[in-house]
Assembly symmetry: C2
Homo-oligomer: 324 residues x 2
């Protein structure tokens, strides 16, 4: 007879990524479907339920009872009550996701912040395996983070920990989506890089980046900056260097505060590799104190787009085993 | 018959503060003696041993066996091996303090970073009682810190956590003692305030601060700035406001990263109270995200100069009880 299994769900603004795994964490079935956020809350929740039923049906006789379901969702949210306070990209406010899913599925459901679960995924299955204190940073459209401290996901007093994207690295700097100025996200995210490239082009510069965007100023993006930089374009390289330095300030501040063994950096912008990482490492060399400076390893994330769903599986396994 | 007791020691550059407490944490005897750091390593260690024997003798029949001795020392140090890597104000390098004290005392000895133990003191006996996640910041000659996370002292991977004083709050700002630029310590410590006041006076301004220093430019200090500000001097108030804003940036960054329930601020400069705290709170209001912003309470330390020795007693009690 097949043993208990768990389901992990990564709920994003554009897709729902769901995986079913055995007690050993091995994925037995998975499915990725569009979120269809425009359909509204009930529609999205029905799609999550469908995705769970799909993976259960696909796994068939390989899997037994579903012992726990864990969902990584955009926050802020409350892991205890299972309510999502606010998820702008889903247009959700005060959605009791845990209760609604438990009613529909008849199985215990746990929710957590998506960046927290990506951190947990990298810790259990990815770049952070074997570490005890690990920081995960996703440099993407925005910048999110998650903390593994003493070998456990650290959520803070009100599930608000890990917001490294809103560390101020440039006081009175560019306006951030949060309303504040000079946050890491406002200077080093994909959105920030695209804006900086757009400014350059508006000033008649940035020809290499514009070419990488197919010559269309409306299509200038972080990906175009990355492509131009990879091809050796000086202006694009400089933009990534500035972003990397700011990222390095945030990493150094975090190293001085938490003295982690490892910082794992993921997200699309991390795809630029050493063009971003080298200036970040230089800043950490300069700004982190001993022993934090010698302790810290700065590495690329290993799981890519699978980090979130992997972390959801890890959380579900932890919950199924009776853990916190 | 009297039960087991413990001894806590706060080893500073100018004084050794030692207390003996019963199993309930009640202090039964204490003594404060000059460190006499100029006498060298063996001399200072002999004085620590003397102070332990003094409190044991003073407690007399009130105390039983000494179950553990804990010493808060300047760092960086290694809590496991008990070696102090480097303590500039004692001119110590690679001193195996734990082993030397155990040989002299015949009792189990534990060492930890002084700021960590001040944090633990405020957590167990002071302003942070009942919290689960608490940050302690000492704003004094330098700026140190300690973290209580999930109700435990968090030391990081190599005992390097808590260095909030070296968080960069002003990139390319004033030079810090650590060699980097724009650290919190370089803009908001007592040393930084004194330097800023000295600059003002050098430019022919700062008459109120100079008066508070008895008219002697060589005696301009953070205390003179505090006294002038307390008397309403506009320039002194502005210096504290700027320091408070930088402190607030560091607190907001820490709130966004760790979502603590409380930040406890101690050290001499914190004596200026709301002149420092109000601008810090305004910056946190502006820069911290929800739920971190609503969660955090920013309060004055309660134990003053007793925080370190209280934390040493708390650590010794924890060790005597078999804790980590």
């Amino acid at each position: 007879m097949a043993g208990d299994c768990v389901i992990g769900v990564d709920l994003g603004g554009t897709k729902i990524y769901t995986a079913l795994a055995g007690a050993d964490g091995q994925v037995l079935a998975e499915v990725k479907i569009p979120t269809e956020a425009a359909g509204g809350e009930s529609h999205v929740i029905a799609r999550i339920v469908d995705s769970c039923r799909t993976v259960r049906a696909t796994a068939g006789a390989l899997a037994g009872r579903v012992a726990a379901v864990a969902v990584g969702a955009p926050g802020p949210l409350d892991t205890k009550s299972g309510v999502i306070h606010c998820a702008p990209n889903l247009k959700w406010h005060g959605v009791p996701l845990k209760r609604l899913l438990e009613e529909a599925l008849g199985e215990p459901v746990f929710i957590d912040n998506d960046a927290n679960l990506a951190a947990l995924g990298e810790y259990v299955y990815g770049a952070g395996r074997g570490m005890r204190d690990m920081i995960f940073i996703a440099v993407s459209t925005g910048i999110g983070g998650g903390l593994i401290l003493n070998g456990r996901l650290y959520r803070g007093a009100a599930d608000g920990a890990g917001e490294i994207g809103h560390m101020v690295v440039l006081p009175d700097g560019p306006l951030c989506s949060c309303g504040n100025r000079g946050c890491l996200e406002a200077v080093a995210s994909g959105t920030a890089l695209a804006a900086q490239a757009g400014e350059l082009i508006g000033q008649g510069c940035g020809a290499g980046i514009l070419a990488a965007a197919g010559g269309d100023p409306a299509r200038v993006s972080a990906a175009a900056v990355a492509a131009a930089a990879a091809a050796g374009d000086g202006e694009a390289v400089l933009l990534l260097e500035r972003a990397g330095r700011c990222l390095g300030i945030a990493v150094a501040n975090t190293a001085n505060l938490l003295n982690p063994e490892m910082v794992v950096i993921g997200g699309g912008v991390a795809g630029s590799g050493e063009l971003l990482f080298a200036p970040a490492r230089r800043e950490v060399e300069r700004s982190a104190l001993e022993p934090a400076r010698s302790t810290i390893k700065i590495v690329r994330a290993a799981l890519g787009g699978r980090a979130g769903v992997s972390g959801a599986v890890a959380l579900a396994l932890e919950k199924a085993a009776g853990g916190a």
